[in-house]
Symmetry: C2
Subunit: 242 residues, 2 copies
């Protein structure tokens, strides 16, 4: 089927992929150790790790630091343009969400935030840092920067649930305009550590900038996701006629 000169690591990748698809079912299943795979396929760990890196890049397996390689769960479908919270997405798709608020404080708007938000530099801004889980796997860290003008006292609320729900129900705020930025990157020190992956692991960055109907800055949200944890689904334009 495949040419005889196919590199060993690609053959191994394909055999592992087939094995995962055939044998296996449940996510979070652990693969044999690298040494065992090397022995079983009569090659070295370097080559085994090339094959594993391919499957990792494709989002089929992920590594848990010095514990082993595991089969990746299904991607979470996620629409960053909608006013629906993370917890509800996860629950609707049959998983168990969890959110940890890592820190929340009032800061002075740094220059970069001023540039994108229109706030004056040094103006007070709520900063909230959260880590979110699907089942037991940490899949994203999130930095929220919020204009306190319209939601004074927000930091006293419970921020482990949806901030948008707080906006809506507690403060009567309704973002009218949003700009999304999405691109892939390598996760750096703080985010990688918070997600329990190594520096340079593949990630997906989502930034959401929200204003109200008067054009006043409401919130900037910067999310760092594991690259294999989500599939973005966005609906734009008029809804279809019934």
């Amino acid at each position: 089927m495949s040419r005889p000169d196919t590199p060993v690591y690609l053959q191994l990748r394909d055999r592992l992929r087939a094995w995962i698809e055939a044998e296996n079912l449940s996510s979070q299943h652990r693969l044999p150790s690298e040494r065992e795979l090397a022995q079983r396929f009569n090659t070295t760990r370097v080559t085994v790790r090339q094959a594993l890196a391919q499957l990792e890049a494709d989002g089929r397996i992920f590594r848990s630091n010095r514990r082993g390689w595991y089969v990746t769960p299904e991607r979470l479908r996620y629409d960053p343009s909608r006013d629906v919270g993370f917890n509800q997405y996860v629950t609707d798709q049959g998983y168990t969400p969890r959110t940890e608020t890592l820190s929340k404080q009032l800061i002075e708007a740094p220059a970069w935030l001023s540039a994108v938000s229109g706030l004056e530099q040094g103006a007070p801004v709520y900063q909230i840092l959260r880590r979110r889980y699907v089942d037991t796997r940490a899949v994203l860290v999130e930095h929220n920067y919020i204009n306190p003008a319209h939601c004074s006292g927000l930091l006293s609320e419970n921020t482990d649930a949806s901030i948008w729900a707080l906006f809506r129900d507690r403060f009567g705020l309704h973002p009218q305009h949003r700009q999304l930025e999405i691109y892939s990157l390598a996760l750096k020190q703080p985010e990688a550590d918070a997600l329990g992956v190594s520096h340079g692991a593949a990630g997906l960055y989502i930034q959401r900038l929200s204003h109200d109907q008067q054009g006043t800055f409401l919130e900037l949200d910067r999310e760092y996701w594991l690259h294999d944890a989500l599939k973005i689904v966005v609906n734009v334009g008029e809804p279809m006629a019934p």
Copy 2:
């Protein structure tokens, strides 16, 4: 500054990154060869390649098959929700676009297309396969599936420019609803080969499903991008008040 036990490949990554940022500006600049870097930093090619892979994952350098490593150009900003063609995006941002139509034909809708589009299985569909460049670098391959009901004769037109412009100007078609799907993946055989990268290179997948105001399927677009070539920017909701 950094702890003395920082791995060699991370030190090397940081030194290379600093060197790229300081010394160098122009994209497409070639790095020293792996062997030369190994010698200069008194280490081995394996370690050098770990450092290079980190910079590649971060989108700062890319490899050209057996020619060397090069500094990545700036990301193209791209809004897949707007009726603006690729060529115009590229031109507006100061680059030179190029599009090659690799194939175009009339096919029968396969089962998977029927499932997402609502077309009957086996119904006639135009299929267009294109490769697109920013300057001299191939950055994406694109599969278009188009409902011929409203644009008969499309395959006789020049498809190296914008298909949406053809929809609008030649056929009077205006997509009213679109669903976008975006996620990262590893590029597989046909797409990787078409882009001149190796199997398993990191990519970004964008799918765009368009209907007209009656809910009739117009077009399905599946784009496979090099992961470092673009930054998605989407505006949703009401535009800001002036």
